[in-house]
């Protein structure tokens, strides 16, 4: 139950009337804005059927479809590498060896503070002269993995920390070593609990793959851009591409929500890490402090 439901009494007749009036005004204004935008589009001839027709033809669609395949491929491969590696870094960060711990913490801090595009440029421009010339696909995927391992390590760490300490203690009590209890007892539970946050992280991986445009890897953005060079249908192409991205990401977010709701039904030792960890990845986010 959230706070904002107790902040005001249920509105009386006058309040309800006021709410209805404001709601009407808002709806009218919103419709006005949409009409204005449509009129703007129409006035510059962007709504003409001829400008949208190409997108009903298979060759155009196939061009975009190939881009989408590239996007999904890059996302999947990046996810395949960054999830296990992220878990690994998180475990190292929680290990008992101070050197390993510091190394992992340094990695996370460093790669959470570097922009992905800079790393991609480094792989594109700085490393080939030094003899490290990866294929284009890996020039995109390796930097994405490097950055997302750092982010995912924080998500995993938050999940492991959220697990009841008793799980660790019980594992130690039956004679498991630190690594064994991590592997057999803690991680399986933590991962189940973190499933929503991990699925939500796929959204950001998918968004990162748009940078394939920079390395000329044929993903959706690059293909769309190449398409506009021939057709000059800029608004139309990018609107369609935007809708494709939003649709896929909405599906992923819905999956995350569903997993979150499902996991809340079962009794458990600790609460699930909220989905959308890209806003709150920090495990040390303070619990609200209250005056007692």
């Amino acid at each position: 139950m959230s706070v904002n439901r107790v902040l005001f009494d249920p509105p009386g007749p006058r309040g309800r009337r006021r709410i209805r009036i404001i709601a009407t005004i808002v709806v009218v204004m919103a419709m006005g804005l949409v009409a204005l935008a449509l009129q703007r589009f129409a006035a510059s001839g962007q709504l003409a059927p001829g400008r949208w027709q190409p997108f009903t033809h298979w060759p155009y669609l196939r061009f975009l479809w190939e881009g989408l395949r590239g996007t999904l491929g890059a996302t999947a491969v990046a996810a395949l590498f960054s999830f296990p590696l992220g878990a690994g870094v998180a475990v190292l960060r929680l290990s008992r060896n101070p050197t390993l711990r510091r190394l992992a913490a340094g990695y996370v801090e460093l790669f959470r503070s570097l922009p992905l595009l800079l790393l991609i440029f480094a792989f594109l421009l700085a490393l080939p002269p030094l003899g490290l010339n990866l294929p284009i696909f890996w020039k995109l995927v390796v930097p994405i993995v490097m950055v997302n391992v750092a982010v995912l390590a924080e998500v995993f760490r938050a999940g492991i920390r959220a697990l009841d300490r008793g799980q660790f203690e019980a594992a130690a009590a039956i004679g498991l070593t630190h690594w064994q209890s991590m592997r057999i007892v803690v991680l399986p539970q933590a991962i189940r609990m973190m499933a929503p946050a991990l699925v939500a992280q796929l959204v950001s991986l998918l968004k990162d793959s748009t940078l394939g445009y920079v390395v000329s890897y044929p993903e959706l953005m690059k293909q769309a851009n190449s398409l506009t060079v021939y057709t000059h249908l800029l608004v139309q192409t990018f609107l369609i591409v935007a809708c494709i991205y939003v649709a896929i990401n909405l599906l992923l977010s819905q999956l995350a929500h569903w997993l979150e709701r499902r996991s809340q039904r079962r009794p458990r030792a600790a609460r699930p890490v909220p989905a959308r960890a890209d806003v709150q990845v920090d495990a040390q986010a303070p619990t609200p402090q209250l005056v007692h």
Binding site: L7, V26, L117, L206, V235, Y245, R276, V279, Q280, L290
Partner: protein
């Protein structure tokens, strides 16, 4: 190395553009995000729907796609901004969605009992928000807002992909001209590190200041 040193001013100029983009984008997203957060909690359904759809759309669209739409698409319908302004507006638009969620989840971390207690002693809606809920909510908002700030700072590098002359872009140009690759990237990386760690440090300081001393 010499080339990087002699062009250090150039890189610093780019760093300044990055800082400007970050600050403008963050300020814009805080203002817009607050308005959106208010929209999402008032008991007026159309406003809630608008707030929710805004957040869902802008959280899920890749920033690069948004920038392309803004910079290459909008001129076709007769709306043109400068590259820098477009990049800043796009950063603010997408940052606002995340800020809105940070503020909303901050408000939701305050236990319901606090709101009930405030109502029970006869505070009105505004009073209980102003005196009881928000002061407590702010504390748990600092960390998520710092994350938004760092996110905006790092995404501002995408402006380089649409030819804004920021730090990433200048580093890349320096490379194309002189092939002084490694040093230039190290310097640029260090500058970004300064920006995000600076943001995190400021956030931590702010959080300590806001913490209740017991």
């Amino acid at each position: 190395m010499n080339i990087v040193l002699s062009h250090f001013g150039d890189l610093l100029g780019g760093f300044w553009v990055t800082i400007e983009l970050t600050l403008l984008g963050f300020a814009g997203s805080v203002v817009l995000g607050t308005i959106l957060a208010v929209c999402r909690v008032v008991p007026i359904t159309p406003l809630r729907v608008i707030g929710a759809s805004y957040v869902e759309f802008f959280r899920n669209i890749p920033l690069l796609t948004l920038m392309f739409l803004f910079i290459f698409g909008l001129p076709d319908i007769g709306i043109t901004y400068s590259l820098f302004a477009s990049a800043a507006i796009c950063l603010a638009l997408s940052g606002a969605a995340f800020t809105c969620e940070a503020i909303r989840s901050g408000i939701n971390t305050v236990p319901v009992g606090q709101a009930e207690a405030a109502r029970a002693i006869g505070l009105t809606f505004t009073q209980s928000l102003r005196c009881v809920i928000l002061p407590q909510a702010f504390r748990s908002m600092v960390q998520p807002l710092v994350n938004v700030f760092i996110g905006v700072a790092l995404s501002s590098s995408l402006a380089a992909a649409v030819a804004v002359n920021d730090l990433t872009n200048r580093t890349q140009q320096l490379n194309l001209e002189y092939a002084e690759a490694v040093a230039a990237f190290l310097v640029a990386g260090a500058l970004y590190l300064v920006l995000s760690l600076g943001g995190a440090g400021a956030g931590a300081w702010f959080e300590r200041r806001l913490a209740i001393q017991r």
